[in-house]
């Protein structure tokens, strides 16, 4: 799996848009980019996955530039309940899934 780098922590306020960027310079051709959300004392939960360009679902958007060496998870209008750790995972389902250290997002009132 490609090594990923993301900020250790981020702070935001309710109602703001939050963008978390993940760097993955050695991404392989067959690799997908997947983001997970984890609340305390729970297992991570799949948020979104993409291969290139932009993917959007009811929870978030994922922006992937043409070179695919980075990706940005965008959370629109965050609320207090979005306070969690967000993991960027790059790889293929044909490989074992190794998570990085994640980004701890704190949303304040």
């Amino acid at each position: 799996l490609a090594k990923t780098t993301q900020p250790i922590s981020m702070d935001s306020y309710e109602g703001q848009e939050v963008n978390i960027t993940c760097s993955h310079n050695n991404i392989a051709t067959n690799d997908y980019i997947t983001w997970y959300q984890q609340f305390p004392s729970q297992g991570p939960r799949f948020i979104i996955q993409g291969y290139k360009t932009k993917v959007t679902n009811e929870v978030a958007s994922l922006f992937i530039p043409a070179d695919r060496k980075s990706s940005t998870l965008s959370l629109p209008r965050v609320s207090l309940s979005d306070t969690a750790v967000y993991y960027c995972l790059v790889g293929s389902g044909f490989q074992k899934l190794v998570f990085g250290t994640g980004t701890r997002l704190l949303v304040s009132p």
């Binding site: 067959n30 997970y36 004392s41 729970q42 799949f46 044909f94 899934l97 190794v98 994640g102």
Partner: protein, 114 residues
């Protein structure tokens, strides 16, 4: 639909005692199975990975072991627990032979070794 069961939810064990955590998956066949450990405030550490019955890949040398006696059953064991084994243990599964990296996690077991 697919579900994953992991138990117990919490466990307090003395140092030197054995450990057995069990995970079962329903509603799918031939899943990839994983055991992760998470120390307080830290990321997920992959412990074991399995692509089939009896096929276990150990990622971290330690006093833990894993077994997969049935297709959808994954067991984490230890003969003698150490204080450093305390943590939050998570079982997960993913679909095999697909590029999809979506994994589904159990509710976790909070293990405290005293």
């Amino acid at each position: 639909s697919q579900t994953i069961h992991q138990w117990p939810a919490t466990l307090v064990q003395p140092v030197g005692s054995p450990l057995s955590l069990e995970c079962t998956v329903e509603g799918t066949s031939n899943p990839n199975l994983y055991w992760y450990r998470q120390a307080a405030g830290r990321g997920l550490q992959l412990l074991f990975y399995s692509v089939g019955i009896g096929q276990i890949s150990s990622e971290v040398p330690q006093n833990l072991s894993a077994s997969r006696p049935q297709d959808r059953q994954f067991i984490l064991s230890s003969k003698k627990l150490l204080l450093s084994d305390s943590g939050f243990y998570l079982c997960a599964w993913s679909v095999q032979r697909t590029a999809n990296t979506e994994a589904f996690f159990g509710q976790g077991t909070r293990l405290t070794v005293v």
